[in-house]
């Protein structure tokens, strides 16, 4: 593959990236799309290899027709020579050029293959890297069989199989519902969905919730699936420990008070559990936006996200962002943001007005979904007292195997109150995943019991000068 120079480069081919690429191409721009996956869809529309099933029916997916429509237009863009699809590649460094434009340096998602990976030069850049399940440590969460809730869903969607027979799904947020539904529909047994929040937390936000009728329909659909498969949905309930010798066997749970503290004498145990899936909302994949030094803010869910204007442009001119990195809000919102970003990025004059990037009706829809997302974040917070679940032995950093005791000691004796000093003193976030999994929890632990993670601490945990691991042989043959 040789290097590419295009008008607009898009990173990611999930809901936001696909919509951005299609919008930019249809507005006349030449577009390159770099995506870690081997086929479009991202995590949300992840599906079985098209090589085996060219036309999957989208069972278990939402807005599948939106995907089919975007994919059709994306392919039309490829056929017209306006879209260059670069699948199976990850961007390890994105940079702004001295004069103008951007450069993306890529490496293969999976090692192997012949030839040099392409470098992409683009006048404007749209980053749609998405997010992943946010995790909170819990005693025993490093046992095999503990998975991210989204990981279970990805397993089912990509492989058409289940990673076990008996499941528990726990954490907080509406996303736990489709995960449990997917498991049940695929033939798995869901012993319980444990939701830490109380559904009454939605009451103050009923207006925002009611303004997105689609979400109510989804809710009704899940209610049907839960009833059909007799899935217990327990609110104000948390997992207190996962145990087993070399894999998950037992999940202990308890009812929680308003702060998320386990109430003694409540709850019970689930035995012979194969897989427990945890999800505490989502963490936006921030390393590429942060590498440009974009302006950021703390969102209502406590995540660090980038600030964008109505046209999805970041504080860095020419750099557009869409999807979870501008605030976790789901696929419908991501598609609308992607469309706005792609349309704006296609315009070389950079004078395109907000009204031109999204028709009024869609802009209103986007705003409704943003309000819904805010309501969702407030109704499903990370429990205030979550740090009280931990034992001294509970691992904070799975990669470097750093227990809670070392983190609290570094905080109390060495004044390590941010993720940066915790990382240096204890190696939290130093390992393979570079703090992707433990960055949020580490930042909270640095802030102290009951304290939210500070923006600076989250930024430092998400700063990754190499966005993904890259073979040294590729660095040795780097072009300027």
């Amino acid at each position: 593959m040789s290097d590419l120079t295009v008008d607009v480069a898009v990173v990611g081919a999930g809901p936001a990236g696909l919509a951005a690429a299609v919008a930019a191409a249809e507005a006349g721009a030449v577009v390159a799309v770099v995506d870690a996956g081997t086929q479009t869809g991202g995590q949300f529309w992840r599906h079985r290899p098209e090589t085996g099933d060219a036309d999957p029916d989208g069972h278990g997916h939402h807005d599948w027709n939106t995907f089919l429509d975007l994919r059709r237009r994306f392919r039309a863009g490829i056929a017209a020579g306006r879209v260059h699809h670069l699948p199976g590649l990850q961007v390890w460094m994105a940079s702004k050029n001295d004069v103008d434009g951007f450069t993306l340096r890529t490496t293969r998602t999976v090692v192997g293959g012949e030839g040099v990976t392409p470098t992409v030069h683009a006048a404007r850049l749209v980053l749609c890297p998405g997010g992943y399940d946010r995790q909170l440590p819990v005693p025993g969460w490093d046992l095999p069989g503990v998975m991210a809730a989204g990981g279970i869903q990805a397993f089912i969607k990509a492989n058409g199989a289940l990673p076990g027979k008996r499941f528990v799904v726990a954490g907080t947020g509406p996303f736990l519902l489709p995960v449990a539904a997917n498991i049940a529909e695929a033939g798995g047994e869901v012993l319980a969905v444990l939701e830490s929040s109380s559904l009454s937390k939605w009451f103050p936000h009923w207006k925002a919730a009611a303004s997105v009728p689609g979400k109510a329909l989804e809710g009704a659909e899940y209610a049907g699936i839960f009833a059909r498969h007799r899935i217990p949905y327990k609110t104000r309930s948390i997992v207190t420990a996962v145990s087993g010798t070399d894999r998950v066997q037992t999940v202990s749970w308890a009812k929680a008070d308003a702060d998320g503290r386990a109430i003694p004498g409540t709850g019970g145990r689930y035995e012979d559990v194969d897989v427990i899936g945890f999800g505490w909302g989502f963490t936006p994949q921030m390393e590429l936006p942060l590498s440009f030094g974009v302006q950021t803010r703390l969102d209502a869910d406590g995540s660090l996200v980038a600030v964008v204007d109505e046209r999805q442009e970041s504080s860095v001119p020419g750099l557009f962002l869409a999807g979870e990195v501008t605030g976790v809000g789901g696929a419908v919102l991501a598609v609308l943001e992607g469309k706005a970003a792609g349309t704006a990025a296609a315009d070389a004059s950079a004078v395109v007005l907000p009204a031109d990037v999204l028709p009024a009706k869609e802009a209103a829809r986007r705003d409704r979904h943003r309000r819904f997302a805010q309501a969702m974040h407030q109704a499903h917070p990370v429990p205030h007292a979550w740090q009280e679940w931990l034992t001294p032995e509970t691992l904070v950093c799975r990669c470097e195997e750093v227990p809670v005791s070392e983190v609290t000691q570094a905080r109390s004796t060495l004044g390590a109150e941010d993720s940066r000093s915790l990382k240096s003193f204890t190696r939290v976030g130093m390992g393979w995943c570079q703090g992707r999994v433990c960055g949020f929890a580490g930042s909270c632990l640095g802030a102290g019991p009951g304290e939210p993670a500070a923006a600076a601490s989250l930024a430092s945990a998400a700063k990754r000068p190499l966005a993904v691991p890259v073979p040294i042989s590729e660095l040795a043959s780097l072009n300027d």
Binding site: S95, G415, A416, S424, G431, I472
Partner: protein, 390 residues
Amino acid sequence: MSRASDVLVIGAGVIGAATAYFAARAGLSVTLVDQGLPASGTSSACEGNILVSDKELGPELELTRYSLSVWKGELAEHRHLWEFEAKGGIIVASQPSSLESLNRVMSVQRGFGVAVEELDPAALRKAEPHINPAALGGAYYPEDSQVQPMLVAAQLVRLATEAGAVFHAGVTVTGMMRDGDRVTGVRTSRGDFAAGNVVNCTGTWAGEIGALAGVNVPVMPRRGFVMVTEPLPPMVHHKVYAAEYIDNVGSSDAGLQASPVVEGTPGGTILIGSTRERVGFDRTVSTEALRRLAQNATGLFPFLSSVRAIRHYHGFRPYCPDHLPVIGHDDRAPGLWHAAGHEGAGIGLSVGTGKLLSQALTGQATDVDLTPFAPARFGALDPTPMEASR
């Protein structure tokens, strides 16, 4: 609240932490301030080297050996706190000419009491089985050691406070308190701190602090990139570098210089250094630096070519035009002291520097003559605009 102390130390990097520790241990009342948390500057962006092997003969080698004696002597009881490891250094020669230079350096160093062993190709491969088979030979320095630099700074701050020092994080020095010529304390973002002596341990910022007192302290930043690999089983057992590294350390060339420095760590990762370039405080990632690091490292250890890098970082080494640190009392501004400009050797030299300063601050004769490091060598009273600091 009375905030007058015998000594006020500015900067809680390794140099300031060591200075505060030894001053407090010497019975002085000590206040330590930093604009951030401990080790927020160069101390957090280096490799933690305590090297004898790369030192030129003269005052720096003397300071190095003194500092090593402090690390291994009175600080030995704390070695586990900062992961002190005498891993040993190996210099590898790949060209006949560099082998010749290396042999010459070795014989001179031996004359000054440096422990060094010659390695023939077979011995080299025994010490480092994955070294490039084309290597011609090397030199082994058993005294070369390693510490975790951020832990050094943080633990020395903790030990200093146990010895009575008071540490204030998040305090930015904005000016000097004066009584005539004499510096009598500092003005800060959190009010004034009076002190009998003020010690400037601010690394690459030392020039700016000097300027607040009207003295020229020409410490400049020199950028260095370090690359970190994926965690692996032990593959590189020493700090291994190429003979050309020695020339780079002492160079004043502004352009990018890179020579291979490769070492394994207890965490399983391999650190790949190092570049040196004078680009001010530019934080832009340099693709040229990454390429040179990668090429040089695979030249030394070919297996690295299929290994992946998982991060890189860069730091700004503080250096003076004559490549010697500035340590001691500043006669141009009585009451003001400096300990800065240790370039890439600050971690290794920190404890020796702190100990010597505590001797000078208490009016004792110092174990090592500080004259070569005297601030007055920079002459001019007025700070001249510094070329590389912006």
